[in-house]
Amino acid sequence: MIHKDKERIIVAEFHKKIKEAFEVFDHESNNTVDVREIGTIIRSLGCCPTEGELHDLIAEVEEEEPTGYIRFEKFLPVMTEILLERRYRPIPEDVLLRAFEVLDSAKRGFLTKDELIKYMTEEGEPFSQEEMEEMLSAAIDPESNSIHYKDYITMMVIDEN
């Protein structure tokens, strides 16, 4: 019984959070958001899905005949489930560091600008040009023209908090 109550409270809290995040993008105040903003909403709620996972999620919350808009009524239950199951957990710092180290096969402690561009635009789920430029602007040390990923990660993580 107590367990059920607790869960209800948690769910209620999730609902409020989800509603808040959704409303930030609900420009017309009609409980819909542009489908292109769904990724931002989900991620700001603490989840870290891949583009592929995001794509699947969108398919789940879209209308039968996609309108380009996602309705809150459809979004809420799906998102609540995700939060309850703690799906798409964020990536811990050390895991992120190891990922960079994999790319830095020579173990220099940094990646050159060109290397970063190559990996980010040709591997995994490639960046768009805009995404690449934005990442470069903050990550690349202009003097060495490289990214010292350990410092970069530390900086980004502090910024988050």
């Binding site: 808040e20 995040a21 409303e23 105040s29 992120l96 988050e160």
Partner: protein
């Protein structure tokens, strides 16, 4: 067997896979980071907007209150009557004769030491460009030339129609908003030239100068800030008085005139309508074309002719929809007041009315219940006055006094606009588009309405127009289309809220009338910052403003928190915190998202609310002896107070008497919902009057307030007038007064 090769292949494959996964992981992480930044950016935006709109609401609420008092308050003493008239006479700046105007500026001597631009009329293009150069070098135009320019500007404006018609076959390109004009390039500036930034005077000078030099190519529309009442609050009045200490008053007076002669709209090729705010379902361009636009001195306070008068009018008047019964001001029990959140329009349970109420004075509105104290205190005050005046039937006396004053005002003075005329202009200058169909009162602004795509369509069809261009709302990208691309919002002030907050834009129209948008961001610094840094800066600014607002509502917050703490443990959940804050502030902000920025992490999701409030106060001002509720109220109403003082200080001398201060405070006390005795007011007044000469310097008052803040932060008790007085008068604890 080839196992070597396959091992190599295998490890090569493994490597490729690992690389792929690593890259994917980094990308996944990065995309989340960017999404969170984007969310922060949106939240920051919401903060600024909701605070700005709440401020606008305040402004209007205050005006409603005073307008109502003006109309219904029967002063019990001659002094009170004097005081009120003195405070609220809109016609303070009486219409001077032309002769007086001439001598106004001609008699002003310009010293030889003056190195700024010297203008002669008629203005030549060189003068205009010289002005720009001079301002770039931070020079100030001498008052004589300012007044001269304004006088010439008015002469020009008077000949213009209400709706300015511009044709593209004359000029090849029309730009709505920036740059240097020439015969091939016409410009339309769509209002709100002042009140933001500290160079409003200079901007006006440039605009007017160019308008005089290129009268056929340069067009200005009036915005809601081209209004002396609005200027009082938003800083333009202050700017003028600071820059022109001797002639500021005259300049403001002349400007009041110039503003009300600004055309209301511009029509391009009879197809594109450009106006500042928007339209409503009753917008009548033919009527607007015919009214005497200079009668609408300010859209804030409508002194319209009474119904009686209207009946007595000549039949020639335009077809007027009979104005519905007078709207009920928001602070009276019969009205339903403003909705809680500016951003949640859909939850605003609108009465299903077809009435397109665009009157700033409240009227059929819905929302939260008004504080009983306010209502009853206003009613009590009125009752008391009526009794004192010895009236049996209030109605009669009011009617009598009104028609008397009307008779006076009629004689030789400017005819006031009708309710309908005024409403039409307010709609044009204050309305905002909305996504939903229909037309409803713009409760956020307190003026004009929200108009839906159907209203736009109706208007475009009626007058055979192609689309509307308007401004009035800040947009992150500087522009925004809506209503099926039939309405274009153009906002040209980049970095409006804060450096990096938004881009500016202007639109160009060629003969085909296709809009071409140009965006920019006017700050070198922002270009070198990363997105992250830009967002952080703006965010910090927004959060600071928000914390200030939170502090100003400390008492409300405390009572809301207590509601969630039935067992009086001193703790509430973070979820309750969010709910409580929204109930107290009504800003409609995503509090759960902002929480991490406003609340230090606490153990098990519980918050010690009292110490949280204490910390808030510490940030703002930290001396325990200060009568915190009084200061809190002062703080919350800081900008209102300044406005009010400036209204009282009609000669802009910068001084108000202690008595005026007390009277004002009394009038305000019901509005501000605090209980304060006369003694406390006297003490407050005396403590602020540092040199004990019976006058309070407005600037010093506000300065003193800031000093109090500052010195208390530095822990210097001797500087705290409040503290000393508190000990003397015995008002040491909040609420004791």
């Amino acid at each position: 067997m080839g196992s070597g090769t396959s091992t190599r292949h295998h490890s090569a494959f493994q490597n490729a896979e690992r690389t792929f996964k690593a890259a994917a992981l980094i990308q996944r992480w990065y995309r989340r980071y960017v999404a969170r930044l984007e969310m922060r950016r949106r939240c920051t935006w919401s903060i600024f907007q909701s605070i700005e709109y709440a401020g606008q609401q305040d402004q209007v609420k205050l005006h409603d209150f005073f307008s109502y008092l003006m109309d219904h308050f029967i002063p019990s003493s001659h002094n009170q009557r004097e005081f009120l008239t003195h405070m609220f006479t809109e016609d303070r700046f009486a219409q001077d004769s032309e002769m007086e105007k001439c001598s106004d500026y001609e008699s002003i001597e310009v010293p030889d030491s003056y190195t700024g631009p010297r203008l002669s009329f008629p203005l030549l293009p060189d003068h205009a460009t010289a002005l720009i150069e001079a301002f770039r070098l931070k020079q100030q135009l001498h008052a004589r030339y300012v007044l001269n320019l304004l006088y010439e500007t008015k002469k020009h404006l008077v000949q213009l129609p209400n709706i300015n018609r511009v044709s593209t076959c004359y000029s090849e390109e029309i730009t709505v908003c920036n740059g240097l004009p020439s015969p091939e390039r016409s410009y339309v500036f769509n209002g709100d030239f002042v009140d933001r930034g500290k160079d409003s005077v200079e901007i006006l000078m440039i605009l007017f100068a160019f308008m005089l030099v290129y009268p056929k190519e340069f067009h200005l529309n009036r915005g809601n800030h081209e209004d002396h009442m609005v200027n009082l609050r938003y800083g333009f009045t202050k700017e003028v008085m600071n820059k022109y200490k001797i002639h500021g008053k005259e300049i403001l007076r002349t400007l009041q005139d110039v503003f009300c002669w600004l055309p209301l709209a511009t029509l391009i090729d009879e197809k594109v309508l450009i106006l500042h705010g928007g339209v409503s379902d009753i917008t009548d361009l033919e009527l607007l074309d015919k009214i005497e636009r200079n009668k609408i001195v300010s859209t804030m306070r409508c002194k319209t002719r009474r119904k009686k008068e209207k009946q007595m009018e000549e039949k020639g008047k335009a077809n007027r929809k009979s104005s519905a019964q007078e709207p009920i001001p928001w602070f009276l029990p019969q009205s339903r007041s403003l909705p809680s959140s500016p951003l949640r329009l859909s939850s605003y349970k609108a009465h299903k009315t077809n009435r397109s109420s665009s009157i700033p004075c409240g009227g059929c509105l819905d929302g939260r219940e008004l504080s009983r104290q306010v209502r009853s205190s206003v009613e009590l005050e009125l009752e008391r006055c009526r009794q004192q005046a010895g009236l049996l039937v209030t109605g009669q006396k009011e009617e009598a006094s009104r028609s008397a004053s009307e008779a006076d005002s009629e004689a030789g003075e400017l005819q006031k606009p009708t309710q309908e005329e005024w409403r039409q202009v307010v709609d044009i200058l204050w309305s905002d588009p909305m996504a939903q169909e229909g037309c409803k009162a713009n409760t956020i602004r307190g003026g004009g309405c929200y108009f839906g795509p159907d209203v736009t369509q109706q208007l475009l069809q009626k007058y055979n127009l192609r689309f509307l261009i308007r401004s009035h709302e800040c947009k992150p990208e500087g522009y925004e289309f809506c209503h099926n691309r039939k309405v274009l919002t153009i906002f040209s002030a980049s970095n409006y809220y804060e450096v990096g907050s938004n881009r500016g834009a202007y639109v160009k129209l060629g003969p085909a009338l296709t809009p071409h948008i140009v965006q920019y961001q006017a700050n070198k610094v922002t270009n070198t910052l990363t997105m992250r840094q830009r967002i952080s800066r703006v965010e910090e600014s927004a959060l600071r403003a928000l914390r200030e607002k939170l502090f100003a509502h400390s008492s409300d917050l405390l009572s809301e928190f207590k509601k969630h703490d039935a067992d009086k443990v001193g703790l509430i959940t973070l979820s309750d915190w969010a709910a409580a804050v929204e109930s107290a502030l009504h800003l409609g902000l995503p509090w759960r998202m902002l929480r991490s920025q406003l609340v230090n992490s606490s153990a098990d999701n519980m918050l010690e609310y009292k110490s949280w409030l204490k910390n808030l106060a510490k940030e703002q001002l930290s001396h325990e002896n200060i009568q915190s509720s009084l200061l809190e109220t002062l703080y919350r109403n800081r900008s209102n107070l300044e406005t009010i003082f400036r209204i009282i200080d009609s000669d802009h001398s910068g001084f108000i008497s202690l008595d005026e201060f007390r009277q004002t405070w009394k009038l305000l006390s019901s509005h501000m919902n605090i209980d304060i005795t006369d003694d406390c007011i006297c003490d407050l007044a005396r403590s602020i009057d540092f040199n004990k000469d019976g006058h309070i310097d407005i600037n010093e008052f506000l300065e003193a307030f800031r000093l109090v803040e500052k010195s208390c932060l530095e822990g210097d008790t001797s500087e705290c007038p409040q503290a000393t007085n508190a000990k003397d008068s015995g008002c040491n604890s909040p609420g004791a007064c």
